[in-house]
């Protein structure tokens, strides 16, 4: 017996509200950079800020399915694609901030940096893995791939989450400062634990009922 469903979730305005909320950090960061309010090292603030928000949006995206099941609000699924695309959007800003502000678009330096430094390589790999997910996020792509294959492809997001955490951990490791990393890691672990629990429950019931 489902609990009362929050009907507001189905309103077209709900999508607009989520869209606007997810855009706020980007608008704020770019606005603050343009008006010189990012402190003494705005390039670093932008690089860190876009990285933080990529990770946060990734966590929010991964939280949709567990929340949908836990709160019995199937309508939450409507926001998942948008949030996933926002994760990619912030990842693009983060990669752009690195390529532009940190590396000055010196392509040879960038290639060397990626090859030489595991922390950059891991972040870069996570970004590359997000590209096919963003590229197959529209309905026609889902139909063309077939739901099963599409779903299998989109499980790449779990690899992205692991790599993003490792990237963040290595960034902080030299400073011995992993408190914040631990918070994100615990959150991601919790969200993935819910998924595996759900998966086992489903599979424990299914074989009997399908009669194979």
């Amino acid at each position: 017996m489902p609990r009362t469903r929050a009907r507001g979730l189905l309103s077209p305005w709900a999508k607009v509200a989520v869209f606007v909320c997810a855009a706020v950090p980007a608008v704020w960061l770019i606005g603050a950079a343009a008006t010189d309010r990012l402190g003494a090292n705005p390039a670093e603030s932008l690089l860190r800020g876009t990285g933080d928000w990529t990770l946060r949006l990734l966590c929010v995206t991964l939280a949709i399915s567990p929340l949908r099941r836990g709160l019995q609000q199937p309508a939450l699924a409507r926001f998942r694609r948008m949030l996933g695309l926002y994760t990619f959007f912030y990842a693009v800003l983060h990669a752009l901030a690195w390529a532009w502000l940190d590396q000055g678009f010196e392509w040879a330096d960038m290639v060397r940096d990626i090859a030489k430094r595991p922390f950059i390589l891991v972040g870069f790999t996570a970004f590359v893995l997000l590209v096919p997910l963003a590229a197959t996020s529209f309905n026609r792509a889902i139909r063309a791939l077939g739901a099963r294959r599409w779903q299998r492809l989109h499980r790449l997001v779990y690899a992205v989450a692991g790599l993003a955490l490792l990237h963040f951990f290595w960034m902080r490791a030299g400073k011995n400062d992993d408190a914040e990393v631990a918070v994100y890691a615990a959150l991601v672990a919790l969200l993935l634990a819910e998924r595996s629990l759900h998966f086992f429950k489903k599979n424990a019931v299914l074989p009997a009922s399908t009669g194979h």
Partner: protein, 268 residues
Amino acid sequence: LAATRSALPGAVTLEKLTDSADATSYNNFYEFGTDKAEPARLAHTLKTAPWSVEIDGLVKKPGRMALEDLLKLAPMEERVYRLRCVEGWSMVIPWVGYSLAELIRRVEPLGSARYVEFTSLADPATMPGVRSRVLDSPYVEGLRLDEALHPLTMLAFGMYGEVLPKQNGAPLRLVVPWKYGFKSAKSLVRIRFTERQPATAWGRAAPQEYGFYSNVNPNVDHPRWSQATERRIGEDGLFAKKRKTLLFNGYEAQVASLYAGMDLKVNF
């Protein structure tokens, strides 16, 4: 804080000064938190008077020196040094103080003294970062005795003509312009002369990343980033190209002889 311009070769760069607003709001001072904005926000709790520095170890005249006496120990000079942080940013700061050598000569190190160890204040009551497990407390740094005696190595009491702001390491700190910034320990409470190389705070926390010498060197990368370039804080806005980092932070003419015959990649 009254001072005269230093006449020491290399002690006054003519490069554009970093805005004092930037130099006093963007600080690494982990005793007040790892975020660079935290020291400016939290360091007001630091109590800088009364203050004294313990001089001990292998010296003829050990003892505790009061800040007032240290301020009068030698004439105050203004020196404009480049400051290069190991993280890849740099500033140009006018410091006020004198050569550390002035103090060292007065306390007369013994012949067996080969290193100098610097200890920063670690007061959990006024320094919230001391309790964190990021770095062991207190903060310890070290120099070889000949590095400590080099005239460019400075004991600083002020910057921009004023007494040192607390977030910049009041009431006295070390400034070693050819080494990465973390070698220049802040808020000193102890200077000890030793025979053996001191175990520094960063050396203990991450020995593969932070060597004892930590001379600024564009040819020796940090394991996680390049040291070939640096971002000069406040220079030409967001899209300014980074500038090339210079060997010994541009003080090669003055200090290279200290490291003659040493492999700087091994002794990083």
